[in-house]
Amino acid sequence: MNNEWPLWEIFIRGQHGLSHRHVGSLHAPDAEMAIKNARDVYTRRNEGVSIWAVEANNITASSPSDKGPLYEPSESKVYRHPTFFDIPDEVGAM
Protein backbone atom coordinates (compact mmCIF):
# COMPACT_ATOMS: atom_id res chain seq x y z
CA MET A 1 0.00 0.00 0.00
CA ASN A 2 1.19 3.52 -0.74
CA ASN A 3 2.20 5.00 2.59
CA GLU A 4 2.57 8.59 1.51
CA TRP A 5 0.44 11.07 3.45
CA PRO A 6 -2.34 12.50 1.30
CA LEU A 7 -2.03 15.92 -0.31
CA TRP A 8 -4.14 18.80 1.03
CA GLU A 9 -4.84 22.13 -0.63
CA ILE A 10 -4.66 25.04 1.81
CA PHE A 11 -6.83 28.16 1.70
CA ILE A 12 -6.23 31.09 4.02
CA ARG A 13 -8.28 34.13 4.91
CA GLY A 14 -5.69 36.87 5.11
CA GLN A 15 -7.75 39.44 6.98
CA HIS A 16 -11.23 39.78 8.37
CA GLY A 17 -13.63 40.55 5.57
CA LEU A 18 -11.64 38.89 2.77
CA SER A 19 -12.30 35.54 1.11
CA HIS A 20 -10.12 32.51 1.70
CA ARG A 21 -7.44 32.27 -0.97
CA HIS A 22 -5.48 29.27 -2.18
CA VAL A 23 -1.91 29.52 -0.88
CA GLY A 24 -0.44 26.12 -1.70
CA SER A 25 -0.54 22.52 -0.61
CA LEU A 26 1.02 20.16 1.89
CA HIS A 27 0.98 16.55 3.03
CA ALA A 28 -0.71 15.46 6.26
CA PRO A 29 -2.17 12.20 7.59
CA ASP A 30 -5.57 13.75 8.39
CA ALA A 31 -7.53 17.01 8.40
CA GLU A 32 -6.53 18.00 11.91
CA MET A 33 -2.83 17.63 11.13
CA ALA A 34 -3.33 19.41 7.80
CA ILE A 35 -4.56 22.50 9.68
CA LYS A 36 -1.66 22.29 12.15
CA ASN A 37 0.90 21.91 9.37
CA ALA A 38 -0.72 24.74 7.41
CA ARG A 39 -0.31 26.97 10.44
CA ASP A 40 3.44 26.24 10.47
CA VAL A 41 4.01 26.30 6.71
CA TYR A 42 1.80 29.17 5.58
CA THR A 43 1.20 31.54 8.53
CA ARG A 44 4.57 32.08 10.19
CA ARG A 45 4.18 35.85 9.83
CA ASN A 46 0.56 36.56 10.67
CA GLU A 47 -0.60 35.83 7.14
CA GLY A 48 -3.99 34.56 8.19
CA VAL A 49 -6.97 34.58 10.51
CA SER A 50 -8.60 31.37 9.24
CA ILE A 51 -7.46 28.20 7.44
CA TRP A 52 -9.34 25.74 5.22
CA ALA A 53 -7.77 22.41 4.34
CA VAL A 54 -9.29 20.34 1.52
CA GLU A 55 -7.96 16.95 0.50
CA ALA A 56 -6.65 17.48 -3.03
CA ASN A 57 -8.46 14.50 -4.55
CA ASN A 58 -11.81 16.00 -3.49
CA ILE A 59 -11.31 18.98 -5.78
CA THR A 60 -12.93 18.94 -9.20
CA ALA A 61 -11.19 21.23 -11.66
CA SER A 62 -12.21 22.40 -15.11
CA SER A 63 -9.83 21.17 -17.77
CA PRO A 64 -7.74 23.63 -19.80
CA SER A 65 -9.11 22.20 -23.07
CA ASP A 66 -12.62 23.29 -22.00
CA LYS A 67 -11.50 26.90 -22.00
CA GLY A 68 -13.30 27.66 -25.26
CA PRO A 69 -16.73 26.12 -24.62
CA LEU A 70 -16.76 27.30 -20.98
CA TYR A 71 -15.85 30.95 -21.33
CA GLU A 72 -16.51 31.99 -24.94
CA PRO A 73 -20.29 32.37 -24.48
CA SER A 74 -19.72 35.36 -22.20
CA GLU A 75 -17.44 37.10 -24.70
CA SER A 76 -20.33 38.01 -27.01
CA LYS A 77 -22.45 39.52 -24.25
CA VAL A 78 -20.90 42.93 -23.94
CA TYR A 79 -24.24 44.37 -22.73
CA ARG A 80 -23.52 42.71 -19.37
CA HIS A 81 -21.02 45.50 -18.69
CA PRO A 82 -22.30 48.91 -17.61
CA THR A 83 -19.99 50.67 -20.09
CA PHE A 84 -22.15 49.24 -22.92
CA PHE A 85 -24.79 51.90 -22.22
CA ASP A 86 -24.41 55.51 -23.18
CA ILE A 87 -25.82 57.71 -20.43
CA PRO A 88 -25.96 61.46 -21.14
CA ASP A 89 -23.91 63.61 -18.75
CA GLU A 90 -27.00 65.59 -17.70
CA VAL A 91 -28.46 62.46 -16.13
CA GLY A 92 -25.84 62.62 -13.38
CA ALA A 93 -24.35 59.78 -11.35
CA MET A 94 -25.69 56.31 -12.13
Binding site: L7, S25, L26, D30, R44, P64
Partner: protein, 325 residues
Protein backbone atom coordinates in the same frame (compact mmCIF):
# COMPACT_ATOMS: atom_id res chain seq x y z
CA UNK B 1 22.68 28.41 -7.69
CA UNK B 2 20.29 26.48 -5.47
CA UNK B 3 19.83 24.60 -8.70
CA UNK B 4 23.18 24.26 -10.43
CA UNK B 5 23.96 22.63 -13.75
CA UNK B 6 20.43 21.44 -14.31
CA UNK B 7 20.55 19.35 -17.43
CA UNK B 8 17.83 20.41 -19.80
CA UNK B 9 16.00 17.70 -21.66
CA UNK B 10 15.73 17.58 -25.39
CA UNK B 11 12.16 17.56 -26.52
CA UNK B 12 10.61 15.39 -29.25
CA UNK B 13 7.15 16.88 -29.39
CA UNK B 14 4.96 17.90 -32.28
CA UNK B 15 6.54 21.07 -33.77
CA UNK B 16 3.19 22.83 -34.09
CA UNK B 17 2.36 22.31 -30.41
CA UNK B 18 5.87 23.36 -29.48
CA UNK B 19 5.56 26.61 -31.41
CA UNK B 20 2.22 27.41 -29.76
CA UNK B 21 3.74 26.66 -26.36
CA UNK B 22 6.73 28.90 -27.03
CA UNK B 23 4.39 31.67 -28.18
CA UNK B 24 2.55 31.48 -24.84
CA UNK B 25 5.84 31.81 -22.99
CA UNK B 26 6.94 34.71 -25.18
CA UNK B 27 3.67 36.47 -24.34
CA UNK B 28 4.57 36.01 -20.64
CA UNK B 29 1.60 33.75 -20.02
CA UNK B 30 2.05 31.44 -17.05
CA UNK B 31 2.04 27.71 -17.73
CA UNK B 32 -0.13 25.83 -15.24
CA UNK B 33 0.20 22.15 -14.28
CA UNK B 34 -2.76 20.90 -16.33
CA UNK B 35 -1.75 22.80 -19.48
CA UNK B 36 -0.02 20.98 -22.32
CA UNK B 37 3.76 21.24 -21.99
CA UNK B 38 6.72 19.63 -23.79
CA UNK B 39 8.11 16.57 -22.03
CA UNK B 40 11.51 18.30 -21.89
CA UNK B 41 10.03 21.31 -20.09
CA UNK B 42 8.37 19.04 -17.54
CA UNK B 43 11.47 16.95 -16.92
CA UNK B 44 13.84 19.91 -16.72
CA UNK B 45 11.55 21.63 -14.24
CA UNK B 46 11.25 18.54 -12.03
CA UNK B 47 15.04 18.45 -11.91
CA UNK B 48 15.42 22.18 -11.28
CA UNK B 49 12.65 22.80 -8.73
CA UNK B 50 13.40 19.47 -7.06
CA UNK B 51 17.07 20.38 -6.71
CA UNK B 52 16.06 23.78 -5.37
CA UNK B 53 13.79 22.11 -2.79
CA UNK B 54 16.50 19.65 -1.73
CA UNK B 55 18.90 22.58 -1.27
CA UNK B 56 16.49 24.31 1.12
CA UNK B 57 16.16 21.14 3.17
CA UNK B 58 19.84 20.13 3.24
CA UNK B 59 20.70 23.80 3.81
CA UNK B 60 19.15 23.53 7.26
CA UNK B 61 21.95 21.23 8.39
CA UNK B 62 24.95 23.60 8.48
CA UNK B 63 22.88 26.21 10.35
CA UNK B 64 20.91 23.83 12.54
CA UNK B 65 24.32 22.73 13.75
CA UNK B 66 24.63 26.03 15.65
CA UNK B 67 21.15 26.50 17.10
CA UNK B 68 22.07 25.00 20.47
CA UNK B 69 25.32 26.97 20.58
CA UNK B 70 24.13 30.44 19.58
CA UNK B 71 25.82 33.09 21.73
CA UNK B 72 22.61 34.63 23.12
CA UNK B 73 18.99 33.60 23.55
CA UNK B 74 17.95 36.24 21.01
CA UNK B 75 20.39 34.97 18.37
CA UNK B 76 19.16 31.45 19.06
CA UNK B 77 15.51 32.42 18.55
CA UNK B 78 16.42 34.26 15.32
CA UNK B 79 18.44 31.35 13.94
CA UNK B 80 15.67 28.92 14.84
CA UNK B 81 13.14 31.06 12.94
CA UNK B 82 15.48 31.32 9.97
CA UNK B 83 16.06 27.57 9.80
CA UNK B 84 12.31 26.97 10.13
CA UNK B 85 11.76 29.28 7.15
CA UNK B 86 14.15 27.12 5.12
CA UNK B 87 12.02 24.06 5.91
CA UNK B 88 9.04 26.07 4.66
CA UNK B 89 10.90 26.99 1.46
CA UNK B 90 11.63 23.32 0.87
CA UNK B 91 7.94 22.49 1.33
CA UNK B 92 6.68 25.22 -1.03
CA UNK B 93 9.09 23.97 -3.68
CA UNK B 94 8.31 20.27 -3.21
CA UNK B 95 4.62 21.11 -3.68
CA UNK B 96 5.42 22.98 -6.89
CA UNK B 97 7.44 19.99 -8.13
CA UNK B 98 4.66 17.56 -7.31
CA UNK B 99 2.26 19.40 -9.62
CA UNK B 100 4.48 18.11 -12.47
CA UNK B 101 3.53 14.51 -11.71
CA UNK B 102 6.24 13.26 -9.38
CA UNK B 103 5.45 12.24 -5.79
CA UNK B 104 7.03 13.66 -2.65
CA UNK B 105 8.39 10.25 -1.65
CA UNK B 106 9.97 9.75 -5.08
CA UNK B 107 11.70 13.11 -4.78
CA UNK B 108 12.92 12.30 -1.28
CA UNK B 109 14.23 8.92 -2.37
CA UNK B 110 16.09 10.47 -5.31
CA UNK B 111 17.83 12.86 -2.92
CA UNK B 112 18.64 10.12 -0.42
CA UNK B 113 20.21 7.76 -2.95
CA UNK B 114 22.11 10.53 -4.73
CA UNK B 115 20.16 10.54 -8.02
CA UNK B 116 19.23 14.17 -7.40
CA UNK B 117 21.60 16.91 -6.25
CA UNK B 118 21.45 19.89 -3.95
CA UNK B 119 23.56 23.06 -4.03
CA UNK B 120 27.31 22.56 -3.65
CA UNK B 121 27.47 25.27 -0.97
CA UNK B 122 25.92 23.04 1.68
CA UNK B 123 28.80 20.61 1.44
CA UNK B 124 31.02 23.11 3.24
CA UNK B 125 31.18 23.09 7.05
CA UNK B 126 30.13 25.85 9.47
CA UNK B 127 33.05 25.80 11.89
CA UNK B 128 32.10 28.58 14.26
CA UNK B 129 29.55 31.31 14.99
CA UNK B 130 31.11 33.74 12.51
CA UNK B 131 30.33 31.22 9.77
CA UNK B 132 26.64 31.40 10.67
CA UNK B 133 26.70 35.15 10.14
CA UNK B 134 28.58 34.72 6.87
CA UNK B 135 26.17 32.05 5.63
CA UNK B 136 23.09 34.24 6.21
CA UNK B 137 24.75 37.26 4.66
CA UNK B 138 26.60 35.66 1.71
CA UNK B 139 24.72 32.42 0.97
CA UNK B 140 21.22 33.81 1.44
CA UNK B 141 22.40 37.01 -0.24
CA UNK B 142 23.44 34.97 -3.28
CA UNK B 143 20.16 33.02 -3.11
CA UNK B 144 18.18 36.27 -3.24
CA UNK B 145 19.99 37.37 -6.39
CA UNK B 146 19.05 34.09 -8.02
CA UNK B 147 15.48 33.92 -6.72
CA UNK B 148 14.27 37.46 -7.41
CA UNK B 149 14.26 37.01 -11.21
CA UNK B 150 12.76 33.52 -10.84
CA UNK B 151 9.59 35.12 -9.50
CA UNK B 152 8.89 35.83 -13.19
CA UNK B 153 9.55 32.26 -14.35
CA UNK B 154 7.05 30.76 -16.80
CA UNK B 155 5.78 27.90 -14.62
CA UNK B 156 2.98 29.22 -12.38
CA UNK B 157 3.53 27.09 -9.26
CA UNK B 158 7.30 27.75 -9.34
CA UNK B 159 6.78 31.47 -9.75
CA UNK B 160 4.31 31.59 -6.86
CA UNK B 161 6.66 29.60 -4.61
CA UNK B 162 9.49 32.01 -5.46
CA UNK B 163 7.35 35.04 -4.60
CA UNK B 164 6.64 33.53 -1.19
CA UNK B 165 10.30 32.63 -0.65
CA UNK B 166 11.56 36.07 -1.64
CA UNK B 167 9.27 37.74 0.89
CA UNK B 168 11.04 35.83 3.66
CA UNK B 169 14.58 35.93 2.35
CA UNK B 170 15.71 39.45 3.25
CA UNK B 171 15.23 38.61 6.92
CA UNK B 172 17.76 35.81 6.37
CA UNK B 173 20.40 37.99 4.75
CA UNK B 174 19.96 40.80 7.26
CA UNK B 175 20.19 38.64 10.36
CA UNK B 176 23.40 37.16 8.96
CA UNK B 177 24.89 40.55 8.20
CA UNK B 178 23.90 41.76 11.67
CA UNK B 179 25.58 38.75 13.30
CA UNK B 180 28.84 39.11 11.39
CA UNK B 181 28.85 42.88 11.84
CA UNK B 182 28.75 42.39 15.60
CA UNK B 183 31.88 40.27 15.30
CA UNK B 184 33.65 42.52 12.82
CA UNK B 185 33.16 45.39 15.28
CA UNK B 186 34.08 43.24 18.30
CA UNK B 187 37.38 42.18 19.88
CA UNK B 188 40.41 41.57 17.64
CA UNK B 189 39.81 37.81 18.00
CA UNK B 190 36.18 38.18 16.92
CA UNK B 191 37.18 40.31 13.97
CA UNK B 192 39.70 37.67 12.97
CA UNK B 193 36.97 35.01 13.06
CA UNK B 194 34.75 37.18 10.86
CA UNK B 195 37.59 37.65 8.37
CA UNK B 196 38.34 33.97 8.36
CA UNK B 197 34.68 33.12 7.67
CA UNK B 198 34.55 35.51 4.71
CA UNK B 199 37.85 34.18 3.36
CA UNK B 200 36.65 30.58 3.48
CA UNK B 201 33.09 31.11 2.22
CA UNK B 202 33.69 33.67 -0.53
CA UNK B 203 34.61 31.31 -3.35
CA UNK B 204 32.09 28.60 -2.39
CA UNK B 205 29.45 31.39 -2.49
CA UNK B 206 30.58 32.41 -5.99
CA UNK B 207 30.27 28.76 -7.07
CA UNK B 208 26.59 28.77 -6.12
CA UNK B 209 25.80 30.46 -9.44
CA UNK B 210 27.15 27.46 -11.35
CA UNK B 211 29.94 27.18 -13.91
CA UNK B 212 31.08 30.06 -16.06
CA UNK B 213 28.85 30.80 -19.07
CA UNK B 214 31.43 29.49 -21.48
CA UNK B 215 31.22 26.05 -19.80
CA UNK B 216 27.54 26.15 -19.07
CA UNK B 217 25.71 23.85 -21.44
CA UNK B 218 21.90 23.58 -21.39
CA UNK B 219 21.34 27.27 -20.73
CA UNK B 220 19.84 28.30 -24.08
CA UNK B 221 16.79 26.04 -23.95
CA UNK B 222 16.08 26.87 -20.30
CA UNK B 223 16.32 30.57 -21.03
CA UNK B 224 13.97 30.28 -24.00
CA UNK B 225 11.50 28.49 -21.73
CA UNK B 226 11.99 31.16 -19.03
CA UNK B 227 12.91 28.70 -16.35
CA UNK B 228 16.31 30.33 -16.19
CA UNK B 229 16.13 34.11 -16.38
CA UNK B 230 19.79 35.17 -16.37
CA UNK B 231 23.12 33.55 -17.17
CA UNK B 232 25.35 32.30 -14.35
CA UNK B 233 27.97 35.00 -14.93
CA UNK B 234 25.40 37.82 -14.97
CA UNK B 235 24.11 36.78 -11.56
CA UNK B 236 27.60 36.19 -10.16
CA UNK B 237 28.67 39.68 -11.23
CA UNK B 238 25.62 41.16 -9.57
CA UNK B 239 26.51 39.38 -6.35
CA UNK B 240 30.12 40.60 -6.43
CA UNK B 241 29.06 44.18 -7.16
CA UNK B 242 26.59 44.15 -4.29
CA UNK B 243 28.82 42.41 -1.75
CA UNK B 244 32.22 44.11 -2.15
CA UNK B 245 31.05 47.45 -0.66
CA UNK B 246 29.47 45.51 2.22
CA UNK B 247 32.78 43.78 3.00
CA UNK B 248 34.43 47.20 2.97
CA UNK B 249 31.74 48.60 5.25
CA UNK B 250 32.55 45.87 7.76
CA UNK B 251 36.20 46.90 7.69
CA UNK B 252 37.26 43.45 6.56
CA UNK B 253 39.88 42.66 3.93
CA UNK B 254 38.62 41.56 0.52
CA UNK B 255 38.87 37.77 0.22
CA UNK B 256 40.33 37.92 -3.29
CA UNK B 257 43.29 40.01 -4.54
CA UNK B 258 41.69 40.05 -7.96
CA UNK B 259 38.80 42.27 -6.85
CA UNK B 260 39.19 45.66 -8.49
CA UNK B 261 36.70 48.27 -9.70
CA UNK B 262 36.69 48.33 -13.48
CA UNK B 263 35.67 51.81 -14.58
CA UNK B 264 35.17 50.78 -18.17
CA UNK B 265 32.80 47.90 -17.44
CA UNK B 266 31.16 49.63 -14.50
CA UNK B 267 31.63 46.43 -12.49
CA UNK B 268 34.11 44.84 -10.14
CA UNK B 269 36.61 42.45 -11.67
CA UNK B 270 37.16 39.34 -9.59
CA UNK B 271 38.96 36.01 -9.75
CA UNK B 272 37.21 32.85 -10.82
CA UNK B 273 36.72 30.21 -8.16
CA UNK B 274 38.67 26.99 -8.56
CA UNK B 275 36.30 25.20 -10.90
CA UNK B 276 37.99 21.83 -10.41
CA UNK B 277 37.04 22.08 -6.73
CA UNK B 278 33.45 22.88 -7.73
CA UNK B 279 33.15 19.85 -10.02
CA UNK B 280 34.73 17.69 -7.35
CA UNK B 281 32.19 18.82 -4.72
CA UNK B 282 29.34 18.19 -7.17
CA UNK B 283 30.68 14.69 -7.71
CA UNK B 284 30.38 14.02 -3.98
CA UNK B 285 33.87 14.77 -2.74
CA UNK B 286 33.30 18.01 -0.80
CA UNK B 287 34.16 18.23 2.90
CA UNK B 288 30.61 17.39 4.07
CA UNK B 289 28.83 15.49 1.26
CA UNK B 290 28.91 12.19 3.13
CA UNK B 291 27.75 13.76 6.41
CA UNK B 292 24.88 15.65 4.80
CA UNK B 293 23.45 12.63 3.01
CA UNK B 294 23.94 10.45 6.08
CA UNK B 295 22.02 12.99 8.19
CA UNK B 296 19.12 13.13 5.69
CA UNK B 297 18.99 9.34 5.41
CA UNK B 298 18.99 8.96 9.20
CA UNK B 299 16.20 11.53 9.61
CA UNK B 300 14.10 9.75 6.97
CA UNK B 301 14.63 6.32 8.55
CA UNK B 302 14.16 7.51 12.13
CA UNK B 303 10.92 9.28 11.18
CA UNK B 304 9.38 6.28 9.42
CA UNK B 305 7.51 5.00 12.48
CA UNK B 306 5.95 8.43 13.05
CA UNK B 307 4.79 8.73 9.44
CA UNK B 308 3.41 5.18 9.42
CA UNK B 309 1.84 5.51 12.87
CA UNK B 310 -0.01 8.73 12.10
CA UNK B 311 -1.26 7.34 8.80
CA UNK B 312 -2.46 4.10 10.43
CA UNK B 313 -4.29 6.15 13.06
CA UNK B 314 -5.91 8.35 10.40
CA UNK B 315 -7.04 5.30 8.40
CA UNK B 316 -8.48 3.64 11.51
CA UNK B 317 -10.40 6.78 12.43
CA UNK B 318 -11.71 7.16 8.86
CA UNK B 319 -12.87 3.50 8.84
CA UNK B 320 -14.62 3.91 12.21
CA UNK B 321 -16.41 7.00 10.90
CA UNK B 322 -17.64 5.12 7.82
CA UNK B 323 -18.82 2.21 9.98
CA UNK B 324 -20.77 4.59 12.25
CA UNK B 325 -22.60 6.24 9.33
Amino acid sequence: MYAQMVQSEATKDDPEKLAAFQARIDRDEKIEPKDWMPEGYRKTLIRQIGQHAHSEIVGQLPEGNWITRAPTLERKAILLAKVQDEAGHGLYLYCATETLGVSRDELTEMLLDGRMKYSSIFNYPTLNWADIGAVGWLVDGAAIINQVPLQRTSFGPYSRAMIRVCKEESFHARQGFDAIRKMAEGTPEQKKMAQNAVDRLWFPALMMFGPSDKDSTHSAQSMAWKIKMNTNDELRQKFVDQTVPQIEFLGLDLPDDGIKWNEERGHYDYSDPDWSEFFDVIKGNGPCNVDRLAARNKAWKDGAWVRDGLLAHARKKAAAKVAAE
